[in-house]
Amino acid sequence: MPSDAERLAGVGVAVAAVGLTTAASFYASRPGPKRWTRWLFVGGAAAAYGAYSLATWLEDQKNEAARGGDVRDALETRKKETHRGAVSSADVPSSSDEIRASDPEPPARRSQMDQLLDAVADGYDDDLDADFDRAAKFMASTTDLRLTNDQKLRVYALFKQATFGRCDQPKPRLLDGLARHAKWTAWNELGELSRDDAKEAYVELVAELRRRTEADEGGDGDGTAGDGDEGTAVDGEGDALGGLGGPVFSRPRMPFDVGDAEGDAEGGAEGGAESIGAMDPLLEACRRGDVESLRRAANFGPLDLRLADECGRTALHWAADGGHVQVATALIKMGADVDAVDDDGQTALHYAATCERAEMCRLLLESGADPDAEDADGDTPNALGAVGLAMRSPGAD
């Protein structure tokens, strides 16, 4: 095995170099003007580094070669496979040999290219969001899947975890019905599973269920009755007969994606929200009104309050939008610019006025926000009612 010999040689050189260096340093530490030992020290270290680099390089080369070989083998195999119908059966054993040979060994060390690809893939969280939305849309629109209760519960739990995060609902009483209880349990059991992980699991599960249904439909049709029976158990709650009559209660399956709709209607002028990566943690905390996280983050050093998202919205914009007065107060104290504008020229006060957040309007106005700042459409917070709202706010004088 030449490559092993090479590696052995590399290691040998390295060990020798390290030994030399150690010896040199030993001599160098002795008193007296022994300049040459210092050169030996430096030289030894350089040699050791060189040997290490050589060994690494050799190994990369080897992996590289192995991969190249894999690709070539695979191509070769495929060529043979496609010819196999025409060629005699004598080809078969050799071709299967090649298949075995081309089974890629897990590379001993991942090349930089692999790592780079992974890093790039990690950056595509928005792909996950898009996949998730597609899966959710599919589940919302389909009536064809015949799911067992366990599957339904799993779908339900992952959807909840992916959209809301950890289950924060109070545990339902048994009186509320078995199904509600089962759903709560399924969701709660996911514990601290991250929303992204839940999304991923949801996407995989939906894909798997689709595949199974398609397979079922292709196969025997006798699962219908049984599956139909199971279907009512979750949906039917404890009183499947109890809701017989007119309408049923329904609500939107998923948050409305303005970007989606505008994308449809206006040729994607706004761009879908799902084409953007994960939200900055600071902005996310302000969106949620999480004043604790904000304070903790501020304890580690000054925050970049000018930081804006893809639409030019700052932390203060998000806080104003959600009506999170505590967060906005903290941001203003930290020096956030109350007149910062988003890509449409709107200030936090525009947001507060549009959302009719009286207390927020008051806070911003008292902090010096400009009620007459014009946005891209020429609208001012005042025209949107900011001043009137502020005067009606409970704490107003």
Partner: protein, 421 residues
């Protein structure tokens, strides 16, 4: 229909009894089907399905053959007829439904039919008081269960059927294990049969044997801020409230020239417009003028109806839109909101106007009436406008059923022209 007397429990009932003893809860999936498999409805299990031509499933019966006495209830319960014009009874029915009727899966909202609504929907022309059936506790007289039928005329694939529309099957939460639901259905069937009516139409959220069609709810935000605050909907994580409010903003006034509230003088024109439109659907009601007057006249807080009077030809009614009001209690009230005000699309006919524009006006009118959300099933021609008008798909399916009427193929939502209240 009224197939057997249940004084002596059938073996299947005994099995149900055993199954239900678990924690006092009913395992209804099993029970329901055990019940529905005895009924003249399409069956989910193919081996149980009686084949035959489209039409009645049961052999024809006469009124004389119908059992004259009511079915026996468990001791301590008794039947009653609920006269909703009686203020006290109306209150009792309202309270039973208000506390025990349809909820969402997360127990956040529960339908709250108003007293006025109940009076309206239960007393159409020709209504039969006996079909407003209640169960009371012997002694205390407390109303604990309810079911209703009202007469209606339905066209099913061209055949005109006089049938009953079944609604408001509601059982007190603490009595869900008492096998009352099948008893209520049997008893109301008997009472309806006594009037010589052998078919019924009803809807439900669950799949029972066997839906003739399925429609899906869609929802259009009118007051998105409130809808988010009460948890009816959620903001997309990258959308600001401000952006979302702007996105759902509607014009202040409807745009179709000549649109106005329906008046009594419009009844003949609306009746003609509706019947002409509805005949294209496989299943749809047929209204006479009295029924149109009852079901579709404007009643504040209950049903809202508008006509378009052609500005060029005064008196000529070209289009019609309507929606009814079905609020829900916000069970865990938040942000100071205790009621979700929902408008439900009812019957709409676009004659001269474009349906999408007409429905946008309906949204505007509903917003003017302070509704928070406009709900709409994807039946009739509704699929045409849902996306354009920013409706979002809902999590609720509505299954449509016919009792004692066989259809060979399941209908698509676009074949359904019936909206129940």
């Amino acid at each position: 229909m009224a197939d057997e007397d249940h004084e002596r429990p059938a073996p299947s009932d005994l099995a149900e009894e055993a199954g239900r003893s678990f924690a006092g809860m009913s395992l209804d999936d099993v029970k329901d089907h055990a019940f529905w498999e005895t009924q003249p409805v399409g069956q989910l299990k193919p081996e149980l399905d009686k084949s035959g031509p489209e039409g009645p499933i049961d052999d024809p019966m006469t009124v004389d053959e119908v059992k004259k006495e009511g079915y026996h209830l468990p001791p301590s319960f008794e039947w009653c007829t609920c006269d909703v014009t009686d203020k006290k009874v109306n209150d009792e029915v309202f309270e039973l439904l208000d506390n025990n009727y349809v909820e969402d899966d997360d127990a956040m909202f529960r339908f709250q039919y108003s007293r006025e609504f109940l009076k309206w929907v239960l007393q159409p022309p020709g209504y039969v008081k006996d079909w407003h059936l209640g169960v009371r506790v012997v002694g205390t007289g407390k109303l604990v269960a309810f079911i209703t039928g009202v007469p209606a005329k339905l066209s099913v694939k061209g055949k005109k059927l006089d049938l009953a529309e079944i609604n408001f099957l509601c059982i007190h939460k603490k009595l869900r294990s008492k096998r009352l639901a099948p008893m209520l259905i049997r008893e109301i069937t008997r009472r309806i049969n006594l009037s010589g009516i052998w078919q019924a139409a009803y809807t439900a959220g669950v799949v029972l044997p066997k839906p003739i069609g399925t429609a899906r709810y869609w929802h259009r935000s009118l007051n998105v801020k409130k809808l988010v605050e009460i948890g009816f909907t959620h903001l997309h994580s990258r959308m600001t409230m401000s952006q979302t409010i702007k996105f759902f903003r509607l014009d202040k006034k409807p745009a179709t020239p000549g649109i106005r509230p329906m008046e009594d003088k419009d009844v003949p024109a609306v009746t003609a417009l509706l019947n002409n439109y509805l005949k294209k659907f496989a299943v749809a009601p047929v209204f006479d003028e009295e029924e149109t007057r009852h079901h579709l006249s404007m009643r504040d807080g209950v049903v809202y109806s508008y006509v378009v009077e052609d500005p060029d030809k005064p008196g000529k009614i070209t289009d019609f839109v309507s929606f009814y009001s079905l609020p829900s209690t916000v069970i865990q009230s938040s942000g100071g909101h205790s009621t979700l005000r929902a408008a439900y699309s009812y019957y709409n006919v676009a004659g001269k106007a474009d349906l999408t524009r007409l429905m946008e006006d309906a949204l505007i009118l509903a917003r003017q009436k302070d509704f928070d959300v406009f709900n709409c099933l994807d039946l009739m021609d509704n699929a045409q406008f849902l996306k354009d008008l920013k409706f979002g798909i809902g999590d609720g399916n509505l299954q449509y059923y016919l009792y004692n009427w066989r259809l060979h193929n399941k209908l698509g939502p676009g074949d359904i022209g019936l909206v129940l209240t």
